[in-house]
Amino acid sequence: MGDANPSGEQAGMEFLHYFGGVFEPVALLLLLGGTIGGLILGATPGLSPTMAVALLIPFTFHLSATQGLILLGAAYTSTVAGGAVSAILLNIPGAPANIATALDGNEMARKGQGARALQLSFLASGVGGVIGVLLLIFLTPVLAQWALKFGPSHLFWIAILGVTVIGSLDSKSFVKGLLSGCIGLWLSMIGYDEILGTERFIFTDALTGGIHIIPALIGLFAIPQVMEMFSKGRSTANVNAISVPKYSLSQSIKELLDSIRSLSIGTVVGSVIGLIPGVGGQISGLVAYDQARKFSPMREKFGTGHAEGIIAAESANNAMVGPSLIPLLTLSIPGSPTAAVLLGGLLIHGIFPGSDIFDKHPQVVWTFINSMLIGQILMVIFGIYTAAWAARIAKAPAPIMAAGVLVLAVFGSYSVQQSMGDVHIMLVLGIGMFLLEKFGFSAAPLVLGLILGPLAGDYFTNGSMIAAAQNGPWVYFFTGGLNILLISLVSLSIGYSFWNNMLQKRDPVPEKAGQEPGQ
């Protein structure tokens, strides 16, 4: 199939020749199906992008390689964006990538501006996603080698860079943010350590594998909210509340363009983090959110339903999709769990990734990449089309909302590993978080601790093992350009937090004043 197309054209523009493949009837149908299905799967709590793509692979057995990959590419793209829907409307992040979206998105939806939140989220996803895929198209050879430069010591420092964000992620209190992060780090220690072969804090079988991030996310975000609703007692909500004010698309686009700074920060952070194998999209949204806030003149509005927060988080998690495939396609190294599943999808069709993949299978690979490009655009269209309708969910009367979220929370936690143990973990964490919130702690820094704990721990252990066989840990972790660059970023981030904290203490009045309108 591949040799039917003209070759020898200027390398950078080669992808244009293969756009035709995307618009064949069956391909287009699969693309539409993958996008819509992906949005629905992504919006279902408990079905992460990894899971959704894994579930779709058996369907591709019956399709040609090109068609199969169109389906997987479209689904991957839209599940990541679909996760924002449940994050915004139900405060249940569909995947770790959508945690930061929930912070401002859910606040905005609860104010009755769900349509606005969803439109901003899909538009930002689209911009970030398209730029990410363009990076994949034009810069793959350059970036592939760069992705290999990150060894255990560098990944350790990146995880530590993430840890420095923990304190500032909670806008209310720096100290409580850090404490929440510590609880998260401690929870992440639970389970069997696969590198050292030791057991930590395992008292029951359900904890052997540690705390899975998806049930934890559901518990920490959704359950406190449900309990809050129940605690308000019998409600006499009137059904008129379901009508949600429409928000015009042109307004959303204007708002997106006004927030060009957050959009750029999100896209850059997402692309860079997506490229690094082993860190993946788990932290891109949160890091982008934090950076966007640090650079924003209206930083005190973050966390109160601010547009910039949604834009930064969503552009980051979709910008990650394209670059995360660079190490996969050219080096056969899956950079994220979802990329690992996609590798299986490539292999089943006899496509072995490697530096010559673009020469050997141009038809399949370029059609795959093009389908992600078109998929991003379709996703934006469908997302926005349904936004006004879907946004009504967030304004459902509290009793219906609480019951619905509880059902989804149990279903989502169970479906991750078909385990009742995960449902119990979800409920315990949720009740715990409800109590912690009463004392002013918040879920986001706790979750970041839970995600970063294993990353920092495992890369440190691996790094020390390698260091022990070489020149010792000091040389291994503290020398070399990349290590020093990352250590400088860590120091800068810590320094900035202290400086900012001191400024706030010295001059508390304007901060208070600034917070009022957003509350």
């Binding site: 894994a54 082993g278 089943i348 691996n462 066989a469």
Partner: protein, 323 residues
């Protein structure tokens, strides 16, 4: 498109036939679950989905097989669940990975050992190979071992984890060469261990034949030895076995994959499965898909698997005694 509809109909059937009890004669009356102790999309999960895809055909089991992922703690979580909670009625099977679960049983801290389960049949065998980066100074096992002897404990060697095939191969090599290497278990499975070799983070690695074959095709690594009794004529005819290279390493580290049921499952059901499942593994569509994915197929019947398990158990007990 019709096939898509069939698959959709089957998944509806899975939920619809939830409740039932059965006699061995009519077995199976409803879909059968296969627990996989690794995550969705991993090599075991991926292969399990392929080899069970024709189960619903009338001349096979007549009922579809669905996959239950129970990942965590290097497989321990899933097999603990299978040994203690799965019903021994033939409607829950599990995929096994040898030597993983046998080695874990010997090391302790888990609720199973080789005697807790009844094998049905084996579908695959993926030998471990020794790899180095494409620009490495090592070109053969002799080079690598000479370096390890001169620099004890400095030969960093990546593998997929502890007490998996890769680790067993590393232990066997250390024993055979009477030298000390630094085995680095990486989290994230064989793919992460492979990346460490390609990026030059470690000096050598032990990885799966199928993955190493692809990495060599892509020009990223050299393969210097295979831990099996014979060379692999299909994929790597030029790579010598470790025995040929002069090291007394057998096939104890070969990663065998297959299906098993809990102890206590009625003999009639075990017999029926043992007769039907190998036919399913040998179906031409299964063979085609496995080959396309570069996954080595090795179908063994129940009797051969029983013998293989017993042999592994004694070899691994010997190897792991001092650890």
């Amino acid at each position: 498109m019709r096939k898509l509809v069939t698959v959709a109909a089957l998944s509806v059937a899975i939920t619809a036939f939830g409740v039932s009890a059965s006699l061995a004669g009519d077995y199976p009356e409803r879909p059968i679950g296969v627990a996989v102790s690794y995550g969705a999309g991993g090599a075991t999960d991926f292969q399990a989905r392929i080899v069970t895809m024709v189960a619903g055909n009338a001349d096979m089991l007549g009922q579809p097989i669905y996959i239950l992922n129970k990942p965590g703690a290097g497989g321990r979580k899933g097999w603990n669940w299978f040994a203690t909670e799965a019903e021994a009625d033939g409607y829950t099977m599990s995929a096994y990975n040898v030597p993983h679960f046998i080695a874990q049983g010997i090391k302790g801290g888990v609720k199973y050992n080789a005697d807790s389960f009844e094998p049905i049949a084996n579908w695959g065998a993926d030998p471990a190979v020794v790899i180095v980066g494409k620009d490495s100074q090592f070109n053969s096992m002799a080079d690598l071992v000479d370096f390890a002897k001169a620099n004890p404990g400095k030969t960093t060697t990546s593998g997929a984890g502890l007490f998996v095939g890769h680790h067993i191969a590393a232990l066997q090599i250390e024993k055979a060469c009477a030298c000390k290497i630094a085995y680095i278990p990486t989290k994230g499975g064989g793919a992460a261990a492979m990346k460490a070799v390609i990026a030059g983070e470690v000096m050598a690695g032990i990885n799966n034949l199928s993955d190493a074959f692809r990495a060599r095709e892509a020009g990223n690594i050299k393969i210097i030895g295979i831990a099996d009794l014979e060379r692999n004529t299909e994929f790597l005819p030029d790579v010598p076995t470790l025995k040929e290279a002069g090291f007394d390493v057998d096939n104890s580290s070969v990663n065998f994959r297959g299906l098993m049921v809990p102890k206590g499952t009625p003999q009639a059901i075990i017999d029926k499965l043992a007769a039907q499942v190998p036919l399913m593994f040998n179906h031409k569509r299964v063979i085609k898909r496995m080959k396309a994915g570069g996954s080595p197929l090795k179908v063994m019947d129940r009797a051969s698997v029983l013998a293989m398990w017993a042999e592994r158990k004694s070899a691994l007990s010997e190897l792991l005694k001092g650890l």
